[in-house]
């Protein structure tokens, strides 16, 4: 039996199959020790000793966010100790004289240089002096650190120096993060930053996972713990503990895979995901090749080079605050009222937010918000909206302005991941989830000319669904910097052996997928292409698509090779409800006045739980459920499919 458990800010979601149905449970999260909620959830499920628990964890992310990670020592080539702090020598804000210094996870006194040098083609130019190394190891032992990160220049081309350093550090008994093992790729700052981040979260994640695994086996004797990694694949608890940098986006990755898998079942394989929460909004794109992976993510200001699903975040959500600036312009966000004090209508906040604007316009229900667990104070909200509306005539005008402005920033975020990368949003289905996604999805679809919106079943537990359905996966890479005709068979085979051995340890049979990062000679950026005889033509075609030109006469270089070893999750087909043509009237619970484009419309209210597959109706309508509400603007047509997804045809 397989159970997915995703730690969220408020709830920990538990999803599993029973009688070929999804079962969803929610328990309150326990932020001081997230594992307690996991165990509590497991206790609620009837025991089955042979259980696989798949976990979406926020321990690594939170250690980074709160900067509560380990005291890390950093070792690198002598003369380059400061590079981890210098970064790319650019300031984060162009026009802010008072910006704080970018934070470095390694304090000055814990950066150590070792005399050694490898050249770009892997020649060892200067070998390590064991005496010097011993002195450094002693200094580190005296410095009282919790973890150690090692990244020397060109270690991926020749790991000899790092192997010696690792061997000398082994006796200290501290978690070691070694660059050629975790990220053997060029660009020394981004690599070192990744290795340091790994060391920074390693003690915390390591002890969390070890304790959790032990506690789970107390409940289920033959259990196994697995963890969702940021790239959308599952890894064993052992690897997650050793390479926790791979779990920075564990939960959000679940959301991407959940949206991708459920949309796929519904028949849509090209999607733009739109997950709007309280303080921010995540967007991502999936095309025929699957969800996009990035090797240049930045997490809380720190570059991370291991593969992560390419999730773009906009600083606007339901709690974003609206205000007029000194020039009289309406601004929404990036300041957020968050959970405390929260939107005005929650009872404590005093600054109007996006949620308040939705309430003004009739889009939220005062009694049924979060299943009635929060009652919204409409009068209080109206009073503050009136006060803050500036030169605008009515609170409705103010509220619809707030929504238009916030939707503009979301539109911008989606353009960044689609149009700016050569994709036309008209070829995609917008999959909306999170508390705010369904509220704004149709309006955004109109703005971007996206023809269809999908509100998946279980939008409140989509991350856990994705974790449950994900494949087991390991990713390996190496910078080779060779011409395209180079013989790389041996290097590929070496990476594959690593993967197959690891899968064997877990009792899995993996399949290998080879790819290469190619670029035109002299260019600074690469495109990932499946490895094979026609990779050159595939590269030119993708280059044409992404960048608008291709030059078949220009020589190509292979910068990195990549191997992904995957064991697919057992296939799953959720039960289909029989389609019965209907108009949804059984789910109709009332009508209310709702504003669309500044005009009030009498609008029907539906409860999603009561809709049946085959129900079809035209907006204006609101479909509410526990964690959200879907706004169906006038003229758009909603149909409930066999999986109980809401599929909305958007008409321009």
């Amino acid at each position: 039996m397989r159970i997915a458990i995703d730690t969220g800010g408020t709830f920990t979601d538990i999803v599993y199959f029973q009688n070929s149905q999804f079962v969803v449970l929610k328990v309150f999260s326990t932020p001081s020790d997230p594992g307690r909620a996991v165990i509590e959830g497991l206790h609620k499920i009837s025991p089955d000793p042979d259980v696989v628990v798949r976990h979406g964890t926020t321990v690594a992310t939170n250690a980074m966010l709160e900067r509560k990670g380990a005291r890390v020592a950093f070792l690198t080539t002598k003369g380059f100790e400061d590079t981890i702090a210098i970064g790319r020598q650019a300031r984060p804000k162009l026009y802010d004289w008072f910006q704080p210094a970018p934070e470095c996870l390694v304090p000055k006194q814990l950066r150590f240089g070792v005399s050694e040098r490898v050249s770009s083609n892997g020649d060892l130019l200067l070998a390590i002096d064991p005496v010097e190394l011993e002195i450094i190891v002693n200094n580190i032992a005296d410095a009282g650190v919790d973890a150690i990160a090692v990244s020397t220049l060109f270690s991926f081309a020749n790991p000899e120096s790092e192997i010696k350093i690792a061997a000398a550090l082994e006796p200290l008994g501290l978690p070691l993060s070694i660059s050629h093992r975790i990220l053997p790729e060029f660009r020394e700052y981004e690599r070192a930053s990744t290795i340091v981040a790994n060391a920074y979260v390693a003690p915390k994640v390591g002890s969390y996972i070890t304790t959790l695994a032990a506690n789970i086996s107390k409940v289920y004797a033959d259990s196994r713990l697995e963890v969702m990694q940021s790239s959308g694949g599952i890894i064993s608890a052992r690897i997650a503990a050793a390479e926790p940098v791979r779990t920075m986006l564990s939960g959000p990755a679940g959301g991407v895979i959940g949206a991708y898998k459920l949309a796929g079942l519904a028949g849509f394989d090209q999607i733009i995901g739109f997950d709007m929460g309280g303080t921010s909004t995540d967007v991502f794109l999936v095309d025929a090749t699957g969800p996009h992976i990035s090797n240049e993510s930045i997490i809380t200001g720190i570059p991370i080079g291991v593969p992560m699903l390419d999730i773009h975040t906009a600083g606007a959500g339901g709690g974003s605050i609206a205000r007029f600036d000194a020039g009289g312009l309406l601004r929404v966000g990036p300041e957020s009222a968050g959970a405390d004090p929260g939107p005005v209508c929650f009872g404590r906040g005093t600054q109007p937010t996006v949620t308040d604007a939705n309430l003004v316009l009739g889009r939220l229900d005062t009694d049924r918000f979060m299943g009635g667990s929060i009652s919204l104070d409409r009068d209080r909200m109206l009073q503050y909206m009136e006060q803050e509306k500036g030169s605008l005539a009515t609170v409705e005008e103010f509220a619809s302005g707030i929504l238009r402005v916030v939707e503009t920033s979301m539109e911008k975020a989606i353009r960044v991941i689609s149009v700016e990368r050569g994709y036309d949003p008209r070829d995609f289905t917008l999959v909306a989830f999170g508390g705010g996604g369904p509220l704004h999805a149709c309006s955004l679809a109109h703005a971007l000319q996206v023809p269809r919106v999908l509100i998946p079943a279980l939008p409140g537990a989509l991350s856990a669904v994705g974790i449950l359905l994900a494949d087991t996966m390991r990713e390996y890479s190496r910078t080779v910097m060779q011409t395209i005709d180079a013989d790389l068979e041996e290097t590929f085979a070496e990476l594959e052996r690593l993967g197959f051995n690891e899968f064997e340890t877990e009792g899995l049979a993996g399949k290998s997928f080879r790819s290469v990062d190619l670029r035109y000679r002299g260019q600074g950026y690469e495109l990932n292409i499946p490895y094979g005889p026609d990779m050159a033509s595939a590269f030119h075609a993708l280059h044409q698509r992404r960048y608008g030109f291709a030059n078949e006469g220009r020589p190509l270089d292979i910068v990195n090779i990549r191997v992904r070893v995957a064991a697919p999750a057992e296939t799953f087909e959720p039960p289909r409800q029989e389609i019965i043509d209907g108009d949804g009237s059984a789910a109709l619970v009332g009508t209310r006045t709702v504003y669309f484009d500044g005009t009030p419309h009498p609008t029907r209210l539906y409860e999603r739980d009561k809709l049946h597959a085959g129900d079809t109706f035209t907006g204006p309508a609101i479909i509410s459920e526990y964690s959200s509400a879907t706004i169906l603007p006038p003229g758009d047509v909603l149909r409930v499919d066999a999986f109980k997804n809401l599929v909305i045809e958007v008409y321009a």
Partner: protein, 530 residues
């Protein structure tokens, strides 16, 4: 006539939409360019202009291009009658440009049924070589004729077709023609992205409405600036600072400024009278550079997300006497005006501003981009190479907070080239890259430290340095001490070394080491004793 106020909501959406177009142009340029200087270091800018050539949106790109790009559009409009499908090219610093490596492309946007261009899209990129005496085109020249090919405003694209004769002429005058061609193509693409997206906007709103919103956006920016200027104390605030030398004589070069605030009118007048006459070396700034520096300083006084539009400068006048270091006339050499003089102009402006608003102004930052250009023959690929890079220094201390170590400030924000990328691409071995400890000025708040970078050459090469703050320290404020001056050394394999002038071009041998130490930032406030 005062423009009608437009809805604060419409305006917010329009501001976001046009800014997003400029950002999309920048993304297209970065993605499709060939050279590391544009792709990795991001030395480029894209902007949109209204029918009066006033900037309405600019991407968050290079500060030194702020405000000066409209001079390029002006120059194009003055000298050419552009038709639909045309794209103009220019780099002449004396007719709309800044220095020769910055090549600007201007595309007029035509709206159906309207005579003449209704908007303009422009892209500017720093090209790694535009010919001239020195590889990389940033050398110590004495006349603009030595600095590279000088392109007045001419049509590179006519009716949608590239003018191959013009292109060929340009490419025959540069050292790396293939790279230049690719980068120019990327610039053309970026302009077309701007054109397409702006036309979409016109289709959505209507032409009259877009004009109204553009005017509204300029008026809004003007209101923001005037609100800020009303907070300034009335009076005239003067300051001066000096550049080390022009690289030919050792004479200091004075830059003087007086800023006069009129809080009642919400305006400021900036006057550079008293600045030194233009010099024989290559550090002269043309007027658009001086204007950019002023634009930048006042842009920083506003909030972080104020839009960059021409409305900003409606409340500010900039006067710079002709034939001086801050408004050079032909045939003065100007390659360094963009990178070195521009930084000093900012220093002088801040020094004057600190007298009016001491709590809002940082001490002087490193004040020199320490430009290093290396050109030669790469045996590994049997090809010539040209490498250009700037190295950051220490940020000046701020009232209430230390300066940042080793970070680009003010008029530039280009990234470094990763050591591992560098050694793959060029016959170099980097020997160290570190903070220059103790180089930041002491103070209640300490100036940021500069950087040390050591590059060993693995081939004979022409090495060109263009640096400043090797003689006069970045100043401290309110009793803070100045930052350390910078230093350049040539270290030979036998261990002997030679101090290199701040501005020079030499032929170095294989295995010679270039050792750069960049200046620290000034301190702020009286340092504690002991």
């Amino acid at each position: 006539m005062k423009p009608q106020p437009v809805s604060p909501i419409e305006l917010a959406i329009f501001k976001s939409a046009v800014h997003s177009i400029a950002e999309e142009m920048g993304a297209a340029l970065r993605r499709t360019s060939i050279s590391p200087n544009i792709k990795e270091r991001r030395d480029y800018s894209c902007a949109l202009f209204d029918r009066h050539q006033r900037v309405i949106a600019m991407g968050d790109h290079m500060p030194v291009h702020l405000g000066s790009m409209s001079h390029s559009v002006d120059a194009v409009v003055k000298s050419l009658k552009l038709g639909e499908g045309d794209i103009a090219i220019l780099n002449d610093p004396y007719a709309g440009g800044t220095h020769l490596p910055d090549i600007t492309l201007v595309l007029p946007i035509f709206i159906e049924g309207v005579d003449g261009p209704s908007f303009y899209a422009a892209s500017r990129a720093h090209h790694a070589d535009v010919g001239g005496t020195f590889a990389g085109s940033m050398g110590p020249c004495r006349e603009i004729y030595q600095e590279g090919i000088r392109i007045p405003a001419i049509r590179l694209v006519v009716g949608g077709e590239t003018n191959t004769e013009i292109l060929s002429l340009i490419l025959h005058n540069v050292r790396t023609p293939e790279e230049r061609e690719g980068d120019l193509d990327a610039q053309i693409g970026a302009c077309r992205v701007g054109e397409q997206r702006l036309k979409d906007l016109v289709a959505k709103y209507g032409h009259a409405k877009v004009n109204e919103l553009s005017d509204g956006l300029l008026a809004y920016t003007e209101r923001l600036v005037r609100a800020e200027l009303r907070k300034m104390p009335a009076g005239r605030y003067e300051a001066e600072d000096f550049m080390d030398s022009d690289g030919i004589t050792d004479d200091p070069i004075r830059i003087a400024v007086a800023i006069t605030f009129d809080p009642d009118a919400g305006s400021a007048a900036i006057d550079f009278s008293g600045s030194s006459p233009q010099v024989a070396g290559s550090i002269n700034a043309v007027y658009p550079i001086t204007y950019s520096a002023c634009f930048y300083v006042f842009r920083c006084l506003l909030g972080d997300d104020a839009p960059v539009t021409a409305g900003m400068m409606n409340a500010i006048t900039v006067s710079a006497p002709a034939a001086t270091i801050v408004n050079a006339r032909p045939p003065a050499a100007v390659a360094g005006g963009n990178v070195e003089c521009s930084q000093r102009i900012v220093d002088v402006l801040l020094r004057a501003l600190a007298k009016a608003a001491p709590d809002r102004v940082p001490a002087a930052s490193y004040g020199s981009m320490s430009n290093l250009t290396v050109g030669g023959w790469d045996e590994r690929f049997h090809l010539p190479f040209t490498y250009y890079e700037t190295t950051a220094g220490g940020m000046g201390a701020r009232p209430g907070i230390d300066g940042i170590d080793g970070i680009h400030c003010h008029m530039t924000n280009s990234l470094n080239t990763p050591v591992e990328a560098l050694e793959y691409a060029y016959p170099f071995r980097v020997r160290s890259y570190s903070y220059r400890k103790g180089s930041g000025g002491a103070g209640e708040f300490k100036g940021g430290d500069g950087l040390i970078r050591e590059v060993e050459l693995l081939a004979d090469a022409q090495v060109t340095l263009l640096g400043e703050r090797r003689k006069f320290q970045p100043y401290g404020l309110s009793g803070g001490m100045g930052g350390e001056v910078g230093l350049n050394l040539l270290i030979r394999p036998d261990g002997t070394s030679e101090k290199l002038p701040a501005k020079c071009s030499i032929y170095a041998k294989k295995y010679d080491l270039i050792h750069l130490e960049t200046p620290g930032g000034g301190g702020w406030g009286v340092p504690e004793i002991g």
